[in-house]
């Protein structure tokens, strides 16, 4: 088995956690997967990658990958692939990795599959579509190695305690193909993603009783990560949160992976703003609230108990 390759995204904080998951995926059919790590900190990351199953790590610490996202990485990968002919290359379904995979497909003409949740072998993978209600099995053809994008958290990373052989690489990226260049970075502290883009939306309604209770949602959001806080019209009208929080027919429309509503009854005017959510959780002390019937998971209970308990439980899970 020449092998499963894993594109380990190197961020400013080190290897992206998804990289370890990809190694776990790779190890389901290849005992000695290879990881490609491009960017400052790549060599340093090799140890951790090895500890999660990578047998070999191609590492290049050149700053060009951080300065010019996407194109240089695809260029280097293309060269490597031509030289080493792997069977498959796995990517995480993140914005950055996706860009690399997409460009790579353009240059080497390989098959590319997105949103995969598991792989059987280099030519067969599985994905969920239509909001997770259908599973599709896909067969990948073509000459070059297939590129498979796997959803983060589709598998748990497995520490193996191994060590990887590090192969240093030179980045030889011609000036004219470097593409766009980063000139500034802005971190918007603590506010997290916008409502329209967030994968998880936590919304509070009349049941929260006042502006202070929104702090519970803020905390839950920061513990989950990548979550935004919104509100129903009742909370906005009452002045507890600004209009930018409003979700509904005269507010924003959101389509997150998970929509968690606390203290919202679920009037039509609100529902039209979130009915596209893939999964809906509703917490309400009124068992007759329409949103409970509509939700994938309805919780009849006191949100002032459930929300902190939930936050604690998630914190506990993430800590371990």
């Amino acid at each position: 088995m020449a092998g499963a390759w894993v594109f380990a995204e190197i961020t400013r904080d080190g290897p992206h956690p998804a990289a370890f998951e990809l190694l776990a995926h790779a190890r389901s059919f290849d005992d000695d997967p290879t990881a490609i790590a491009l960017g400052q900190g790549a060599t340093e990351a090799a140890a951790e990658l090895g500890a999660h199953g990578a047998a070999t790590v191609y590492a290049c610490d050149d700053p060009v990958f951080a300065e010019h996202p996407g194109r240089p990485a695809a260029h280097v990968l293309a060269g490597l692939i031509e030289a080493e002919a792997p069977d498959v290359v796995l990517f995480a379904q993140t914005y950055d990795s996706r860009d690399v995979a997409g460009r790579l497909q353009g240059s080497i003409g390989s098959a590319l599959m997105g949103n995969a949740t598991s792989i059987a072998d280099p030519r067969h993978a599985r994905a969920e579509i239509f909001g997770g209600t259908k599973i599709v099995d896909v067969e990948l053809a073509g000459p070059a190695p297939p590129l498979i994008l796997l959803r983060p958290k589709s598998i748990a990373a497995e520490p193996t305690g191994g060590t990887a052989r590090v192969v240093p690489l030179e980045a030889d990226v011609p000036e004219d193909i470097r593409g766009a260049r980063i000139v500034e970075r802005h971190e918007e502290s603590a506010s997290g993603p916008r409502l329209e883009d967030a994968k998880v939306v936590l919304a509070g309604g009349r049941g929260l009783g006042g502006p202070d209770a929104f702090a519970m949602l803020d905390e839950l959001a920061s513990v989950i990560g990548g979550a935004a806080v919104g509100a129903s019209r009742a909370a906005v009208d009452a002045g507890w949160v600004p209009y930018s929080y409003q979700i509904g027919q005269t507010g924003k429309t959101v389509k997150p992976d998970v929509y968690l509503a606390a203290g919202i009854s679920g009037a039509l005017q609100h529902v039209v703003g979130m009915k596209g959510a893939k999964r809906i959780v509703a917490i309400n002390k009124d068992a007759d609230a329409p949103l409970l019937a509509m939700a994938d998971l309805g919780v009849v209970g006191d949100l002032f108990q459930v929300l902190p308990a939930l936050t604690e439980e998630i914190r506990r899970r993430k800590g371990s």
Partner: protein, 250 residues
Amino acid sequence: MNVVVCAKLVPTGTPTLGPDHLVVRSGTDAALDPGDEYGLELALQLTEQHGGDVTVVSMGPDEAGQAIQRALAMGASRGVLVSDPSLRGADALVTARVLAAAIGMYPFDLVVAGVESTDGYTGTVPVTVAEILGIASVTAVRRLEPSDAGARIERMTERGYDVYECPLPAVVTVTAGSVEPRFPSLKGIMQAKQKPVDRPSLQDLGSRDLTATQTVTAVTDAPTKSGGEVVQGDEAVGRIVELLAEAKVI
């Protein structure tokens, strides 16, 4: 600044699969992908401020002409529809090759698309198009302005945004909510009928390899996820956590 916008016709309700495991695109209610409307709006604003034309390109069945009409009604100057039965079931690579060939037939400074389509959500076709055309690309764009270096672009990140200087021509994908798509006026709809819509054939686009690289072998129903259950008491927190895990959120 001439801009080409990629547009896709997607089903408006829940998409359904045909017996060949492909999404049914004909004979159902379909419309211009809402994600593409953001790209189109950005393109229109850019050309309104800096001059130039917006050309909208779409690959799909005949009905994709509807998506093009809507784009023309919103203000695009020209439409391009590539429609061939052999393209049914085209995967990302074939789509990218066809689009790149069609786009290459027109002068452009910028190619704009949505971040991902609402029915496929792979999100890689635009950058593949960029690679084939040999130009730069920036995805998840929330703001773009022409600059001396080409364009100054703000790209969304998990923590905020990064600013790029990008040489033109380039491909960008635009995030939802970055601009407010305009509602086409009736005047726009009437004028749209007079605007040119080119229909290049596959031959016009030049020969290239259009064999699909993936096939769907089976479609099954997912095991019933936590659908419509109601819990209370102590098990509530646990169930929520399970759901979040199933949704790959934690």
